[in-house]
Symmetry: D2
């Protein structure tokens, strides 16, 4: 489904170096799986589920530290009340469409029951953005089996981007959106760590889209590439998942999550009223067995966080742009079409603004 | 299912007068419905769904103001990220068991689709407490139809308490718990308003149970009435829903929600680690059409809030005790039994401690 | 200034055992100092400063973990934005009257300058409750030197209670209030630790006062002991500082702080609108050098927190009651008098309600 | 002290039109005053106080709605606990240097005492950024009289920018920083309103500085204009005050405050660890008499907020740039010099990047 990544086009954003895959899977142990649901009958579906396993080993009983931030809360991420209380993530994370949060959320519990996870109850983390413009969301096409498939199919290595998994039916800055990922290597005074981002990007107005500061959206206006929207633009949502191997305590994960705001702003997100801009960050640098009387954890020095913050902002920024460059023009419900960001025009604009020599 | 309410026993808590029904439905427009799911095959189910319609008229497009508070977030209430952002409640509220949050959450959307609600997406508020000790929660006995039944069956008037709806399989202070409700009439300098509470009570240790300050739990120890627990006590959860017709803006609803903590503490809740103590408050005193350019709302003077706070604390306290006095001894999964709070012994203890003349 | 502590009267609250001193100083390293400012000219002053050093060693560069909770935020505690962000406390904590927060806050910086603390800037934690009914607060009687005196005079060991330091002019449940302290020893599955509380109690209505669940305030009504208030009661504030040697990460300190709400509710606090009920909790079980690249910290297992929560609630409850039993009848500004809680009547009431055999 | 505003240079940022003054004072009733404290003996002072009166009429008893957001809380803003609770601002707002928050905070109370404000206590809002590199902050040069002067001297109309008031000693993106302001006119479906921003800008690294997306900081590197820093860059802080006449309830003010993050990110702020990036937003569109039993307020429709969000982001962005273009090269403590952003070079860079035709 993917056309290209930003760096395939001779372009880049940010100053810090990416990891080997330039993906959230550069953080060791993170695995990503997609279940893509595309069919035209009995309902038109352009939807799916994306699953992220935060770490190797048994996440169900051996948590990672985590925190979240809601920049604009017109959306859902289940499990956040527990995250806010405990600062621990002990389930996989799933992202799907708005009307399927429930089925996917219960599916994660059913999956744990199938796996005989020794915990009586669970509070899964499932987030969403809305795909009802392209997909008949009201027909509830996502099933438990799709969630299982995404969970079972998750792997390390390169991550499929664009119109896959939960991102299948998404729209971003009035172009086709979807899943994107990127990473950064942060050399701090306390060690060198990786920060990876995975986004499900479904937000934003054309006018505000920028790549490396260049007003790409205004340059590729609606007269050049039609927008899908008849009415006022600006709605939608974005989910950002940040992973790092830097050793963070929960409050520091919250801080990291908040920096997705910066990367989002750099691309042109302003947290429009209708947008659910919700960010999760977790650290594999600390593992916390849920039944240990006391766990030894490491807490990075506060001043070392700054480079991680920059890494989180940059990874978020590039992950969004990767979603745009990867996603393909898609036709769905009622014959509606959402056009992809044209890559040649993107390069033209960037050249005119001195971003390609 | 109900045996008695506290005041039927010649007992009372608190200083403020209750409303005519001493129930959340004393707030005009509030309707409550229960779907109780009890069967022994194919799975043992002692579970259900309780639905609350916050106000008359079209809640889907004509919101009430609302806010929430998580006193101890080892639980789930969906829709809270949106509540925190907008301060508006524009769906019914459902309470069920932990493993059914998803199916009930999506069911609320499906219900809106059925009703042709003119909103493309929804972020329903669905909360839970865990009933897996009495009910085979891992077999997922709650269905979409149960949620529909609770929603469709909701009425004003007296509210069934005890082992009904979402409260069917609950345990509270090591006695049988469930649904309870109460209300208070608050005469403030700005007008006289009602505060109603409905709880799904599933928390607490026997030792800490107090009624009107009397250490009832210690007096009716585990040697007198056996506890269901073999291991350490203290887990469980409580969901509190507060309704008022006092005209509150969203931030004031958050304040009111926080006062459920006081009522909970008075009965003996301390927010044990395993407990999801999550509180929702809404005000029917302000209706906000979601598509109005500007709405006129009323904001009660800050100093008038104090009496409302006392009312919220008292209503929560009595609602919990009503859940205990209403719920009946229940046998469920694997022949496990949870004993009801013995009403005669309760009266005896209260008499000894000078609470009955 | 102190008359008695609760346990001197043959009374007790709570189930857990107190530490040797039944004071916040049972947590090793905690030191408390008071500067009491009482004079009648040039202004009538019944005020002061209470200082708490959270731990031994160099707190300025070697922080403890910390968190806070505002149950009702009609008050001030400076430094909380930093606490929320970093979860670290690296200054002493001071409590004074409302109109002196600024002078005391800057005094802590001046103290650090005097001590040549190697940090360019500081964000001190200074909290307040209002003493303007007894003291001419508008004349600003608290000086930098008073803050220095409280800081310099701090010691471990028994803590003066009642009308001392920041508590000098305080009023609680319409009796004379002030400083109180208590502690609990919490035996958890992860080890045995101490939780200590120190309160500056200046809140509450007579009607709601309870000791161990007994409605002491209603029994000792305003006809028995006159209230200071002509107008409506219920205002005021309470600051609670909780210390523990249990090893908590910042998010766990926030959780602990929230439990002061329970202890406050047990005595009769409901967070009246005019009340600034703000709680700080810190853990000496983790020391974090501010300039360490990475610190090793310990994180207690979530399930072990429950006993700490109960300890925090009980220590807060008894600290408030100790403030009431210690504080003496005080006459201040314009000849106004606030009466102390009469100890003999307290014992009488408790006996009638079966709390003394 | 001011050299130029961005638009004087033929440059602009953002899409929405500014108000007549392009200043926070475009919101009717807002007044700004500065007390600039510059002397070389007995201590070297490059410091001051900036005061903002939020609205005409009697702010002390007739509040405006308000909310705040801490993007990175390594800083102080007093009064925020009350803001979070009540959502009302009923004092002027002052900004000063870190070590003077206390004296200015108490000065606001003393000012109210002088004015015979009929409120027994106050919780003033005073924020800070650190100027100790240029000014001998440890000598505490700011006095009560300076706060009074800023409050007394406040006026509507054009606002002095750059090295004035609280901004006198500030440093931004390694250039001379200080006070800046801007405004935007937001035409929404509910009416046309103004959003104004005033910043005290003291944050950021050179490398990250962008103007309208152009990497100005990297283009004007440290070899071109020396940085003041010997060590690692990235610290500092920024206070943003947003005013609007759009009718917002408190929770909506919180939302608006959060959008300052976007404007800050556009210029290159990432919330570095040492930075106190704290944002206040208030609405003059609702006045709330503190003693009114019930107030009528207006609540803008949620979907109308998006344009206000864009206005807040843009006004913040341009206010920061105005601080940079206005501030002059300054020499202070120990002969240290901070260089101003060179305006001709700024224009050159912007021309090369196609921002000037």
């Amino acid at each position: 489904m993917a056309r290209a990544r930003l760096r395939d086009l001779g372009l880049r954003t940010g100053q810090l170096p990416p990891g080997p895959l330039n993906a959230i899977t550069d953080v060791a142990g993170v695995r990503v799986g997609h279940a893509t649901v595309v069919h035209d009958a009995p309902a038109v579906a352009r939807t799916g589920v994306t699953a992220i396993w935060p770490a190797g080993g048994d996440i169900w009983t051996n948590a990672v530290t985590a925190g979240f931030h809601s920049f604009n809360g017109n959306g859902e991420m289940t499990g956040t009340i527990w995250l806010e209380e405990q600062g621990l993530l002990a389930t996989p994370v799933c992202i799907t469409n708005t009307h399927s949060v429930g089925v996917v959320r219960d599916a994660v519990i059913a999956y744990a029951v199938r796996e005989r996870v020794p915990r009586p109850w669970l509070l899964p983390v499932v987030a969403e953005t809305y795909d009802g413009w392209l997909s008949e969301a009201d027909r509830f096409p996502v099933m438990t089996a799709h969630a299982f498939a995404a969970l079972d199919g998750a792997t390390g290595g390169a991550v499929a981007e664009g119109c896959v998994g939960g991102g299948t039916g998404m729209i971003c800055h009035e172009f086709k959106g979807g899943i994107g990922t990127a990473s950064r290597v942060a050399a701090t005074g306390a060690g060198t760590w990786t920060v990876g981002a995975l986004v499900q990007a479904n937000y934003g107005s054309r006018d505000l889209l920028r790549v490396d500061g260049v007003p790409v959206g205004r340059e590729i206006g609606r007269d050049v590439v039609p927008s899908h929207r008849d009415g006022p633009a600006g709605g939608g949502s974005i989910i950002v998942v940040l992973a790092t191997d830097a050793p963070l305590v929960p409050i520091q994960c919250q801080r990291l999550a908040r920096r997705a705001t910066v990367g989002l702003a750099w691309v042109g997100g302003i947290g429009a009223n209708g947008s659910g801009d919700i960010f999760l960050a977790f650290s594999t640098g600390n593992r916390v067995p849920l039944d240990a009387p006391v766990s030894q954890v490491r807490m990075i020095g506060p001043d070392q966080m700054t480079t991680l913050f920059e890494a989180a902002a940059e990874a978020t920024e590039e992950a969004i742009v990767n979603a745009l460059t990867a996603a393909e023009t898609t036709t769905g419900r009622s014959g509606r079409t959402v056009h992809a960001l044209p890559l040649d025009r993107l390069q033209d604009v960037m050249r005119r603004y001195r971003r390609i020599e």
